[in-house]
Amino acid sequence: MSNTPSPFRHRRRRNQTPTPPRRRGRTRWLLITPIVGLTLIVLGIVALEAAAPQVDTPDLVVEDLPPLALEPGRSCTRQTDDTTAAEIRAVILPGARVSSTQVFRCPAAYDGLEVSYAGEVVGEVLPRDGGAWAQVNDDIYALRVGPLVGHRELDGFNTGLSVWLPDGLHEQIEEAGRAGRRGDVILIRGTLLRTDPDDGAGLTIRAEELEVVAPSVTIEDPLHVPQLIVAIVLALLATGAIVWSRIVARRF
């Protein structure tokens, strides 16, 4: 009698029986395949990016610029630390060259000072009554390695200042920087305003003198041939897959 399982025990055992091996195996396969596929895609993309052709851009280093007045390390905080601003202000001589990073770290220190500033004009020069606005960047892409085309000198965000160029100055700029082009690099001398009343309290430099220290340069982006081949192969495969799926969908 004890060898005969009761219906209740039998039911319990049936409920606890795992999914049949084939069914579980299918589920596992359906889960593993996309993970492996995604990993392969990521690895392939990384390898493809690493194979991108590189170009040298040594000619783009802008030399003979006046040295910076300060190392860009010191920052101040309005309300809680106003003494740093006063200390920085005390050592900046009229016409000394500043960088945008220095200014953002302590805008109050430079308010109203006469400074020099060097950088690349990017985007477009926006003409207004009596002059034009220009965005002038002084980051590594502007002054050393050029736009991020065909090289891997990644150095973070672009940094720069807004500059007001009165009539008579902005006409000297021939081209601004864009994709594949380092724009004119200019050296200006003017007054830095923390809250420019003519720019909605923006931080600007009102230029009084301008010199183009390096003309614009166009950099060719070398064609990434392996990427082109991969693109063609994948496009053909994708087209085939779409045609196949349409045929299957009609039958479904």
Binding site: L38, Y141, L148, G156, G202, L237
Partner: protein
């Protein structure tokens, strides 16, 4: 005990994820065509690779896993949670191939930021970025802002009842019209109308700002996507500073406000019922909190001596506040200057505004005004109950489309999500502090900004930021966009896969 999902469930999920990838592939074809038109050949091949991979996988899953099985709530939640994650991975492919990101994680950050309309960027040398890359980044915000799953399924005309679970799972719980497909199409109609009007207004403002017609159109389209979809990406690193135009700022502010309005309120305005907007708990909460925060921002900026003119308070203070409340993230200041030049009080008010965010069922992020309003009503309700005699029946109502009674489950749902957001903000801030490079002001500001999908940055997020922190921020953006529930459902589903009881054969 939870039931273990079977192969049929996985196939169903794979089928819908494939649809989403098909949609993403179509999105990538737009910059591919633009790249060919402007002869940016490497960008063109990168987008063809990205689009082909999406279309290939989408088509294969369409052919292999086609099904007429209905979606359950669990399926809907899992599909949406995975769609945003896998979508971001595939969206990152052309970004990484552009060579402007140090590693795949940074490209994933940018893609997730775009899709979730956060708008924080870690791209190197943005000011020299090819046109196709710029358009793609902004287009991603449009797809994400409209809700990529809804975009795809309404395009591929899946049945309304099937989309219902996905619609709600994608943190869009307001059904405007009886049919979900019609609701999704109404959302498109609103976006389309604003696209035409907003781009035209921006085009005129940019022409008056000194742009040539071609460049004005290019900037106008990108600015529209970034503003109406409350994204915050920009064509230039200097964001709104670049334009030097009050007219452009006004149009952008109006678009940001339009983007933060729920589609339900857009529908009320569309039907000529502006009273519904003024009575709505969310509109009132947002109006009250924004007014209070603006007062604090002005007081903080005046007290710190940052700005002492109306011009400065409006063009810098008000714009930043609208950008924060709407969860857009456009900046009129360089991020670092919020720390060095804004004093203490004004940035704190901006953090508060970012935490609350915009309205539910809009493109905005954050806790959402409706939850804050309901939490406040719950507090008032509880105080009333204490003060009145025990026998008194206290009924609290609020207006959300129609007059509703405040029920316990509504209060609990609102306060739970509110609490989850707050905990995530704090955890993100603490992880930032662990690196020892930033102070609490910076890490809290940035954590709230990414967790609410805002995008205003104080300078922590950068291409060189610690990779662990970057991974945490990716997670925060994902959680914030889906408002937690779908992600928890996914985790539960994964647990069931591993430990759940098998379904009866």
């Amino acid at each position: 005990m939870a039931l273990r999902p079977g192969a049929d469930d996985v196939r169903l999920i794979a089928f819908y994820l494939g649809k989403v990838l098909l949609g993403l592939g179509l999105v990538m074809l737009v910059p591919a065509v633009i790249a060919v038109a402007v002869q940016e050949w490497n960008a063109a091949t990168a987008y063809v690779i990205g689009a082909s991979l999406c279309l290939l996988i989408g088509a294969v899953s369409d052919a292999r896993f086609a099904t007429r099985r209905p979606l359950t709530w669990a399926h809907g939640m899992v599909i949406v949670a995975l769609a945003w994650l896998i979508g971001a991975v595939f969206a990152a492919i052309p970004m990484y191939l552009s060579g402007r990101f140090g590693d795949p994680l940074a490209a994933l950050f940018e893609a997730m930021s775009g899709l979730t309309t956060t708008g924080m960027s870690v791209i190197n040398d943005l000011d020299h970025t090819p046109i196709a890359d710029d358009v793609y980044r902004h287009l991603l915000q449009f797809a994400g802002g409209q809700g990529i799953v809804i975009v795809v399924l309404s395009l591929f005309a899946a049945g309304g009842s099937r989309v219902a679970t996905l619609y709600v799972s994608e943190a869009r719980d307001e059904r405007i019209l009886p049919n979900f497909i019609r609701t999704a199409r109404f959302i498109f109609a609103v976006a389309g109308t604003f696209l035409v009007l907003g781009t035209a207004a921006l085009f005129v403002a940019l022409l008056s700002a000194g742009f040539t017609p071609g460049r004005a159109l290019y900037h106008a389209i990108n600015l529209f996507f970034a503003s109406f979809d409350t994204g915050g990406f920009s064509v230039m690193q200097s964001s709104m500073i670049y334009y030097h135009s009050f007219a452009v700022e006004i149009v952008v502010m109006l678009l940001m406000i339009a983007g933060t309005l729920s589609f339900g309120l857009h529908f009320a305005l569309w039907r000529g019922r502006p009273r519904d907007v003024f009575r709505h708990i969310e509109a009132r909460t947002l109006a009250i909190t924004s007014t209070l925060f603006f007062a604090v921002v002005c007081f903080g900026l005046l007290r710190a001596g940052t700005y002492d003119t109306l011009d400065g308070l409006v063009r810098k203070g008000l714009f930043t506040l609208v950008s924060a409340v709407s969860s857009t993230g456009h900046q009129v200041n360089v991020g670092e200057t919020y720390l060095t030049d804004w004093g203490v009080l004004a940035p704190a008010a901006i953090v508060g505004a970012m935490a609350i965010g915009g309205m539910a069922s809009s493109t905005a992020g954050g806790i959402k005004a409706v939850r804050v309003g309901i939490a406040f009503k719950t507090l008032l309700h509880d105080v009333k109950k204490i003060l009145l005699p025990e026998s008194a029946l206290v009924v609290t109502t609020y207006h959300a489309g129609k007059r509703r009674i405040l029920r316990d489950e509504t209060s609990r749902a609102a306060t739970t999500i509110l609490l989850l957001f707050v905990v995530t903000y704090l955890l993100g801030a603490m992880v930032g502090l662990l690196y020892g490079e930033f102070d609490i002001t910076q890490t809290l500001f940035e954590s709230v900004s990414v967790g609410s999908n805002i995008g205003v940055s104080i300078g922590v997020v950068s291409p060189e930021m610690p990779r662990g922190l970057m991974a945490v921020y990716i997670l925060q953006m994902w959680l914030g966009r889906l408002e937690y529930v779908a992600v928890f459902a996914l985790l539960g589903y994964l647990f069931s896969l591993a430990r759940g009881q098998a379904k009866a054969a």
